[in-house]
Subunit: 403 residues, 2 copies
């Protein structure tokens, strides 16, 4: 008998009618004779409401209490789902993280799942029951409730799928899957049928918000195939996997773009060993995330130009930190607030020569100027003026036959 883990996100269980719908979806898997394990997030809005309550009582709310507070969200949704499943004639019960238990390690609000005890769960499944397990949480060695970061319910689903050796792990959400590029940016965006973990990791970290990078990393490490699909429309979603079976020979799988990036260039920096570190140390200390970095070749061996990108909201702070930095000298600081990073992603590019050329050619043909370039094994990113993003995506989407 095949075992499937079904995970439902906050919008999927966002109100009573949606919980009824979710229970119908669960019933279809039971009808197909699957062993079914359900993981649920909190009903959408609930977690934010609890966060606001804590904030109105303290600007540094105790993290252990924060976790005890937030974990009630999943407890409510899981009890409601289990109650409804019983109502429609399916044997079901909720399992709170301490009841299994799901054991975590690490700090409150940012713990990681260390071990899941599945003995009782397995017995229940074998007797035809549907366990409904609270996502996003566990207990630490002191028997305190810990949460594993926002979107942590995905991590719960993936780790549980690993422990119970599930054949499938389906993440139900409010989108139909992963797209070749953001459908709001480009109308011809298409749903991706299959995507490799590494590609999905790049997509996720570049802003495709379907799943958190850490969850994808968990799935990759544990070789759990994940299907992402909508709980609202009964359409096939996107399979995230490492299996090469029936992958098409598509070279590029998707195109991502960022918003609100800013570019800073420090002109005429005195070139000496460790100068980049001197520049970035105060930024790192101030939690400013530096993304693309390019250092131009020093012309005379004495001076160099350093260009890097940050989030626009950090621009002012960054400017001040550089100006206050006594350990560096430079000729000029220049800024560009309206830039965006456009990336093409695909494991196919490893074995296919000429991808970089095709990308630059496609952009050049649309007269889009490339400001910075950065590459990894399965990704090429270019920085362009924000006003060119849509055009850039369209031209690349067409060039790499994603239309």
């Amino acid at each position: 008998m095949k075992t499937v883990v079904l995970k439902f996100g906050g919008t999927s269980v966002g109100n009573i009618d949606r919980i009824k719908k979710v229970c119908k979806i669960i019933a279809t898997y039971k009808k197909k004779k699957y062993n079914v394990v359900v993981i649920s997030s909190a009903m959408s809005g609930v977690t934010n409401d609890l966060v606001n309550k804590s904030k109105s009582l303290s600007n540094s709310f105790d993290l252990a209490e924060y976790d005890a507070l937030l974990s009630t969200g999943e407890q409510v949704s899981c009890a409601l789902i289990a109650g409804r499943l019983n109502h429609i004639g399916l044997k079901s019960r909720s399992w709170l993280s301490w009841q299994l238990p799901i054991v975590t390690e690490g700090n409150h609000s940012g713990a990681r799942i260390n071990k899941i005890n599945i003995n009782e769960l397995n017995r229940y499944i074998k007797n035809g029951g549907i366990p409904v397990v609270t996502g996003f949480q566990g207990i630490n060695k002191n028997y305190r409730i810990t949460t594993i970061g926002r979107s942590g319910s995905d991590a719960t689903a993936i780790m549980l799928a690993k422990y119970i050796k599930a054949e499938e792990c389906i993440i139900f959400t409010d989108v139909e899957g992963v797209y070749t590029t953001d459908p709001r940016q480009h109308k011809k965006a298409k749903k991706i049928k299959k995507i490799f973990y590494d590609e999905m990791l790049e997509m996720a970290s570049l802003g495709s918000k379907v799943m958190q990078p850490t969850s994808i990393q968990d799935a990759k490490l544990n070789e759990i195939d994940i299907k992402v699909q909508s709980s609202f429309a009964s359409k096939s979603g996107t399979l995230i996997t490492n299996s090469k079976k029936s992958f098409s020979d598509q070279i590029i799988t998707g195109i991502s773009s960022t918003k609100n990036d800013a570019k800073i260039t420090i002109v005429g920096v005195k070139d000496r060993p460790g100068v980049a570190a001197s520049i970035f140390k105060p930024l790192s200390k101030n939690l400013i995330n530096v993304d693309m970095v390019v250092q131009n070749i020093s012309q005379n061996g004495k001076n160099t130009d350093l260009t890097f990108t940050i989030k626009s909201e950090d621009l002012k702070k960054t400017e001040n930190l550089i100006k206050e930095n006594k350990s560096i000298s430079y000729k000029k600081l220049s800024f560009d607030k309206n830039v965006s990073k456009v990336s093409i992603i695909g494991v196919g590019m490893i074995t296919t020569p000429g991808i970089t050329y095709r990308m630059f050619q496609a952009l050049a043909s649309k007269k889009i100027n490339i400001l910075v370039i950065s590459t990894s094994e399965i990704k090429i990113s270019v920085l362009v003026s924000a006003k060119h993003v849509k055009k850039a995506i369209a031209s690349l989407h067409k060039e790499f036959k994603l239309d």
Copy 2:
């Protein structure tokens, strides 16, 4: 060092400002060098909202899931209180019922506390910490969450006070204490300073809604003194106790009255052994609660008149059940929908003769007709026309020097 249990009801923690207020109250006890243990109910409205959610998913919602669902209410309020106490510089943590654990026996939604493990709690208190414990819930031997009935947080407070050998157990609520009679019925009603458990039990079962009879019974059995006071006004409340110290020589402690009672008289019932049982059996089967019962003396040894009271809402059903009852014969059925029971309560009446006379005399002087009389050791109840209730309370309140 004195140990005090402070229990806060739903309205006392009904919103963020009230939670802040409650934490200030807790701080005053800590300042007085008390060991403090806090019990909290769910924020008012939360439990009803959860109940409604369950009802909209099933008209027979699984009781184990119902308990898992409802128990989140106290978890939220306790985490918020503990977080706030930390914020104002007091060492505190929430304790969920499974973390102690509070072990219950009996059915879901109607369990009773069997045992509380207080080892960790005691260590924490000795180190100056304030534990904030979820009321209203526990876990059963299967590690499932159980709830102990509405108002069950009082029971948690009383049982915890017993286990940790607390000197005081204070129930904070939205009234200032127990009154000699309902202040809405009689303006001269006064707050009672001290009341015996047994008197409070009679007051509670007669409709004084400050505390549930079962909680008072728990306190009585375990000899826990309870103070009931307001979390809104800093006034002294009512002490419920068995201690005779500094009790005044008041004979009557309070006056209760009921609403929505109905009187039924079955005239000319054939008098034979077991006839009353034949009449009440179908009522009991249909969960109709019979209160006062009077059987008149049979005139000729053959027939008798039977009078009893029920809640008005059960009148139609009761009438039908009597008419359908083939095991009895009678001449006539008569009803009075607009009657009320007025009771005087006080342990003093055991040792004081003439109380019954004074009661009847006071009512007679106001031309109030007594329909039925029923007495116990510490209570005398009379049934009167509903229109006379206010007048009856006023005359008795004056007669027994409660004004």
